[in-house]
Subunit: 344 residues, 2 copies
DNA sequence: CGGTGTAGTGCAATCGATTACATGCGGTTG
DNA sequence: CAACCGCATGTAATCGATTGCACTACACCG
């Protein structure tokens, strides 16, 4: 407390080690360019003075913050928090810090992202939000000084972005086909948020699977949702008012599937006896829910890791403007107790 | 793409507006000190040049990164991700960015934190990890240049930290008493990780409630866990091997309670018919689980917001070294379907 | 022995914004 | 009218690390 000197700088270290600041700097960032003896003296000086690097100064000089920005729609969702976890791991391994930005409204978000990125706080963006206003995105792309960016989870075709995705549409088809294979013909879909790319792809996969099986989708059975548990719960009430009800439902994600199941139970509908449900994501709780949830597993850890890898590779590849990466990961159908053959 | 000039600086703006850089800087950070006419010219110049602030340069000069570091044990846990969400909101509102650091091992963590903080990447630390090695913490405290820091969730008494907590022990007592009130006498506890402060407090509350009711806790009924769902699931198997089994269990958190319930069901034990369970946290899924989980609700949003507020207040209070804050929030017992009166 | 190469180090400019201090100017006051 | 004040603005130092260039000393080669 009494020791209120300012924090030591590279100057202090230099003075103590009786070398120039240039040498100290080199001893830190490229030790092989410094003789063994000096290196030791510098280490000792650092120890004694308690020196730590000032990242702001380094960033200013090197024009790089060694930081990536992760923009996501909802940290609280287990799907995103897992991905964030994987990203953070990979980034830390490679010496990068992770800034998080939660984008509640698709609207003002773009301004926020701009502010973040163009201010040298972050060197690149990892965008996980499928709901972002397309016009907002255009700002990011067409900005006079565009910067490295990878979109993950959501597809934004034809924009030249690097992308790391899962095959949402194909996976949704497979999930739906699973229900068809069980004999279901009256199949509904608990939809994700409007204007969300991922939600639309899953919807498309759903429709496509039905059509392939010669079933015409019933628009009444597209039940509004928004990926959230509460919305799934509310959807159950609306479901009950349908004059004719599906015997199976493909939910756009696990959270809403769980809310939906919970709502249905309250209405006396039992799963899988009265209805079969497939979810999407394979959240950890899916296996422990009752009934255990049949779901499409997304390789979340892999997805997060690859996304981070791709972005950081991009940042460190100076100039070598490779053509846009496009990685697509497969999902895996996990069959559990929430789906059953159609009762005769 | 052909437009590869470097990003515009305050110099460019100044040149364009025909004023000095000082004036531009003032127009941005204290507009009232600049005449209306110049202010307009500067705005226009900023618009035309597409200028954005270089945060690194500002941080260097002002010795403040306008960034806080949030250190937590597991982002994937719904409890922490909710808190992180609240923190991020508050921080953003007040113009701060949020860096996240996941601390897997209680060990190397301290080094990492040190590195982060003493490098001017972040101005302060929000510590949410109850498992941090005490010795590691000492490093942070006794460092010659200690910095603002708030611990949340976990209590670290006598260290002079600012703290924002819930009354874990009292809440655990209340949760346990709820079981006692229902007539249960053989009550077990699904424990959190060893060396975790929060886990210990809840354990203490559990024991204290029993003692107050004249019940001597049975050491056999302290079931090992670590806050994770999987551990709860595994615990159920061990539970089955007990010669005499409790009729009720207080789980240290909802995640492990859910895993435990799932494991028990697999063993044919029905809740609440055969056993009553109380959890802790009130995760969103708790209300939608089956049975709906009786649990102690922690005011997560409030907790996150207050923690962020406290830290930022601290950062902006130059010098006014107030004595350490100590905020304690109350939890609320939410009674749902997982607890029932002891069957005679 | 002169020339060339190279390892090790220092000097000083540089990154971009902020800010203490200085300046000029119009207006007020005693 | 001189002294003074305050507003608006400019000048230039400053934050702390990096790095291009220059220099020295020594080794090696023909």
């Amino acid at each position: 407390m009494s020791d209120m000197r300012k924090t030591p700088t590279i100057q202090d270290v230099a003075r103590f080690a009786k070398v120039s600041t240039a040498t100290v700097s080199r001893a830190l960032s490229s030790p092989e360019r410094v003789s063994l003896g000096t290196r030791d003296r510098v280490s000792e000086a650092i120890r004694v003075t308690g020196y730590t690097l000032n990242q702001a100064a380094r960033s200013l000089r090197q024009r790089a913050a060694k930081t990536i920005l992760v923009a996501l729609p909802d940290i609280r969702n287990g799907f995103f928090s897992s991905i964030l976890d994987a990203i953070e791991r990979e980034a830390t391994n490679r010496g990068y810090s992770v800034l998080v930005a939660n984008l509640y409204l698709g609207h003002e978000s773009a301004r926020r992202l701009e502010g973040y990125l163009f201010s040298n706080r972050a060197d690149g963006l990892l965008l996980l939000d499928g709901s972002l206003d397309p016009q907002a995105l255009r700002v990011l792309t067409t900005a006079p000084h565009s910067f490295p960016m990878v979109v993950a989870c959501e597809d934004i075709p034809n924009a030249g972005f690097h992308r790391v995705l899962t095959d949402n549409q194909v996976a949704a088809e497979r999930a739906t086909r699973h229900l068809i294979d069980l004999g279901h013909r009256r199949i509904g879909h608990l939809v994700g948020p409007e204007n969300n790319v991922v939600a639309r792809e899953r919807n498309a996969g759903f429709v496509s699977a039905l059509r392939q099986a010669g079933i015409e989708p019933n628009p009444q059975w597209l039940i509004r949702g928004n990926f959230e548990m509460q919305a799934g719960f509310a959807a159950a009430a609306r479901f009950m008012t349908l004059s004719e009800r599906p015997t199976a439902v493909f939910a756009a994600n696990d959270e809403s599937a769980i809310g939906f199941l919970s709502g249905l139970r309250q209405q006396g509908i039992e799963c899988p006896r009265d209805i079969s449900i497939v979810g999407f994501d394979d959240l950890e709780v899916a296996a422990h829910y009752r009934p255990a949830l049949t779901t499409m597993r997304q390789p979340r850890e892999t997805l997060g890791r690859l996304a981070a890898e791709t972005l950081i590779d991009l940042l460190e590849d100076d100039g070598t403007t490779r053509s846009a990466m496009h990685i697509v990961l497969n999902c895996e159908l996990i069959v559990r107790g929430s789906t059953a053959p159609l009762a005769q």
